[in-house]
């Protein structure tokens, strides 16, 4: 309800009861509700209780007179704006002055003209309210401008006079008492990068009357940076000349910051701080444009943490988020600067999210790709890094990931299809048993499988017991009996079938897997021979090929472990070492060889003749046997050089008291030549290809193999 609508309340203050009565009667007739006070003190008390809309105040009162009452009344917060009419003697100009000075709104001279008193009082009320409204509007406009951080400015061009509003000063960070408004002063506040263009825009407005609103930065004297929106209009005189510019300057810093925050929220994942899928796709679109122009390859990697839901379910979402963040950081650290990584939409808590997203998907964009093998290397590295345990919630958490890769331009030429194909490849990786990577193009997978993807499979092959040993017998040339067998590793791949050693041993060496594989071979060979011995088959030594890494990483320990574990007589174990292994770092080699020799294990040098053996070293090695490389045997006896070398090797070996073994014997001619020149032991398809343990057991029966050949 406004003051206009409700019944106005008047407070009549006079010590004269007759005056109060008359005024009251008069005002009540005019529709007022009246309260009376007989002195100033009572009047001040009633101000609070009755909240009058107007006060009629007699000047001459005992104790606190009208002036004093008015002055005190003005100090009351609830009465500061209430109009006060003072009742003064018409003959007393001095009292009128004093009334105004005390804060009176108006005065009425005595004797009072009763007929017009009501109108007069109403008029004073209206005028007072109008004044107050004006003041209120003024101040609400100012308040509104302050809240909107909207400053105004004007430039009177002919007089070169500038006006800045209070808010303009505030936005510019200037003190109105000190700063002098001018175009130059304003431009000095503008960030130097935008100063020139802002000046040009203002001058353009002066010349052509056009101004494009612009966002500029203001550098406040204290160094504060504000973003402001600058708007301007011009006024023309009769001749069409621009005479005045008016404009606004609005501080939109908070809006800008909010926009940046919103943009960040919209583009980045809350849990990991990585760009989200949406911004990744944007980035991918740009990268594709560049790659198209420069004919570059790109790889898109879709990486999904395997069974991440399990982490959440067992350890809680808190730990889950911690692990996720750590995984993200590891991935970022593994990538190059120029690679882009993002994470799929924030994990949703609760059943819906968990059902929809089994784990969390990362996307990686590899730019500047020379060869798709590089993508495979990155994928390999990412998987490797993730396999390292994570510390979260006070325990170790183990993770693996499945990776799918799509290549530009091979697997698609737009962001959508590349993302989709990488995703499909990732799902294929999941189907392959997780913890591996797959290219979208199957053809690439085929070669990558052999060279690269095979590593993870190789790793699993050990756990899944996919390796097995085949055995090739060694025949004594004199007795024609099996005197030994060479254990040869095979990989029974669940899908590829038997994978030959030359297809996985180099990779195994490269990755270090060769050592655990070598240990397995040693252990299995010893156990097998021990089993044969238990079955009372003839004493036969079993030879195991040793790789270079294994030789240098605790071979002695693995051998003694294998012997102890199986209980095999050390004399029935032979280790075969290639020339190249023995010739690296001869002193260490010598020490290792002696250690092995002391255990009672036989030592043989394998593939002899292909490397660069120094005869003097050879003499110092505690060897038992020497195997002539199959390349010399192959063309025997027709190739005179091979024949000569073979004869020389046999002679030299015998002079060093080494037993000589020829491998790769496939024909009777070869057999005849080797026998003729005194080769001690023979091995090759002529006698038997490598066979299973069961088959070999049959051969170890009395002289059956030899009979087959020599009869």
């Amino acid at each position: 309800m406004t003051a206009e609508q409700r019944t106005p309340i008047a407070l009549i203050v006079d010590d004269d009861a007759m005056m109060r009565l008359l005024i009251r009667q008069t005002l009540e007739r005019s529709g007022f509700v009246c309260h009376e006070a007989g002195n100033g003190r009572d009047a001040l008390k009633l101000m609070g209780t009755h909240s009058p809309d107007i006060v009629l105040l007699d000047v001459v009162m005992p104790e606190l007179d009208g002036y004093g009452t008015c002055a005190e009344l003005r100090r009351l917060p609830e009465a500061s704006h209430v109009p006060v009419i003072m009742l003064t003697g018409l003959d007393d100009d001095d009292s009128i002055d004093r009334a105004y000075q005390a804060g009176a709104t108006d005065f009425i001279g005595k004797p009072i003209s009763w007929g017009v008193l009501g109108y007069r009082v109403r008029y004073v009320m209206r005028a007072s309210r109008a004044l107050r409204d004006v003041a209120k509007h003024q101040s609400s406009l100012e308040t509104a401008q302050r809240i909107a951080r909207l400053g105004g400015w004007e430039w009177d061009i002919p007089h070169n006079e500038h006006y800045w509003s209070a808010e303009t000063y505030r936005i510019l960070g200037l003190d109105p008492a000190q700063a002098h408004p001018s175009l130059e002063a304003f431009l000095q506040c503008v960030h130097e990068d935008e100063r020139r263009s802002t000046r040009d825009a203002v001058m353009e407005l002066v010349r052509c009357g056009e101004f494009a609103p612009r966002l500029i930065r203001i550098v406040q004297p204290g160094g504060g940076l504000r973003y402001v929106q600058l708007q301007a209009l011009c006024s023309l005189d009769g001749a069409g000349t621009v005479t005045r510019l008016s404009g606004t300057i609005q501080d939109v810093t908070e809006l800008q910051e909010a926009e940046q925050r919103i943009r960040h929220l919209a583009c980045y994942d809350g849990a990991t701080g990585l760009p989200n899928r949406q911004s990744f796709i944007e980035g991918l679109g740009k990268a594709l444009g560049v790659a198209r122009r420069h004919h570059r390859q790109l790889a898109i990697i879709a990486l999904d943490l395997d069974q991440f839901k399990r982490v959440n379910d067992t350890l809680g979402h808190g730990v889950g988020n911690e692990v996720l963040l750590a995984a993200a950081q590891r991935l970022v650290a593994t990538l190059r600067e120029c690679d882009v990584i993002s994470v799929s939409e924030q994990r949703l808590e609760g059943s819906e999210g968990a059902a929809r997203l089994d784990g969390d998907e990362f996307s990686v964009l590899l730019t500047d790709l020379d060869h798709y093998h590089d993508a495979a290397k990155v994928a390999h590295r990412l998987l490797q890094e993730l396999r390292k345990p994570f510390e979260a919630g006070g325990q170790e958490v183990f993770l693996t990931a499945s990776i799918g890769m799509a290549l530009y331009p091979l697997d698609g030429d737009d962001a959508d299809s590349l993302m989709r194909n990488a995703g499909a490849a990732m799902h294929f990786a999941k189907e392959q048993g997780r913890d591996n990577y797959q290219f979208y193009s199957r053809a690439m997978n085929a070669t990558a499988l052999e060279k690269l993807s095979m590593e993870s499979q190789l790793r699993k092959a050990l756990e899944r017991d996919e390796f097995l040993l085949h055995y090739q017998p060694k025949i004594d040339a004199a007795t024609r009996r099996v005197v030994g067998v060479e254990a040869l590793i095979r990989w029974q791949h669940p899908e590829l079938g038997i994978v030959p050693p030359n297809q996985f041993i180099p990779l195994a060496e490269e990755t270090g897997l060769i050592v655990p594989i070598g240990e397995w071979v040693l252990r299995s060979a010893c156990e097998q021979n021990r089993a044969w011995q238990r079955a009372r088959l003839p004493r036969t030594h079993i030879a195991v090929n040793i790789s270079s890494p294994h030789f240098r990483q605790g071979l002695t320990a693995s051998i003694s472990e294998a012997l102890r574990g199986s209980g095999l007589d050390p004399a029935l174990l032979e280790v075969e070492l290639t020339e190249s292994i023995l010739m690296q770092n001869v002193e260490t080699t010598l020490a290792t060889l002696h250690e092995i020799k002391e255990m009672g294990v036989r030592l043989a040098i394998d593939d002899f003749g292909t490397g660069y053996s120094s005869l003097s070293y050879l003499k110092r090695f505690p060897l038992d046997a020497l195997k002539i490389d199959r390349s010399f045997v192959k063309d025997l006896p027709r190739d005179p050089e091979d024949a000569a070398i073979t004869k020389a090797i046999i002679g030299m070996a015998h002079s060093l008291r080494l037993q000589v073994v020829a491998e790769g014997v496939e024909s009777r001619e070869q057999l005849a030549f080797l026998q003729q020149h005194g080769c001690d032991v023979l091995q090759g398809y002529l006698f038997s290809r490598p066979v299973s343990a069961r088959q070999l057991a049959q051969m170890l029966g009395p002289e059956r193999v030899a009979e087959a050949i020599w009869t």
Binding site: D16, M18, M19, L21, G89, D91, P111, I112, W114, G115
Partner: protein, 135 residues
């Protein structure tokens, strides 16, 4: 004869002297405030009759002892109440006393207290007569 109030009746009985001149317009104004009835006028007259003797005491003491504030306040109040009831002579006397008291000079030519008192009584009689006439 119905009297407005006791004081007026007593005064009436002691000294049956002249009636003061009353400005009828002022009285009509008061009547008009109360829509032409005499109710308000009766109340105002009653207030005038009841409260003025105290003012007269202040005026008398003020004049005798030179208490200017006391004199000024009392004269000021009497001035406006007399004016309200159209007792112009009494009002004018009060105005002169007020002005002199404000100036602080109680010189020659000022109305004497007895003359003020006599004029108040004449006004009372006139008002009583007026109300009796109307009533």
């Amino acid at each position: 004869m119905p009297s407005v109030c006791r004081t007026l009746v007593e005064s009436d009985m002691e000294t049956a002297h002249r009636l003061a001149e009353l400005d009828r317009a002022a009285l009509e104004t008061i009547r008009s405030i109360s829509d032409g009835s005499d109710d308000l006028l009766r109340q105002v007259v009653c207030l005038f009759v009841d409260s003025t003797p105290a003012l007269l005491e202040d005026i008398e003491a003020g004049l005798k002892n030179g208490e200017m504030d006391r004199l000024r306040m009392a004269a000021h109040t009497l001035k406006s109440s007399a004016a309200n009831l159209g007792a112009t002579v009494l009002g004018d006397m009060a105005r002169q006393l007020e002005t002199a008291a404000r100036a602080g000079i109680l010189g020659q030519g000022l109305p004497s207290f007895p003359s003020v008192k006599e004029e108040f009584e004449a006004a009372c009689r006139a008002l009583d007569a007026l109300l009796g006439e109307a009533g």
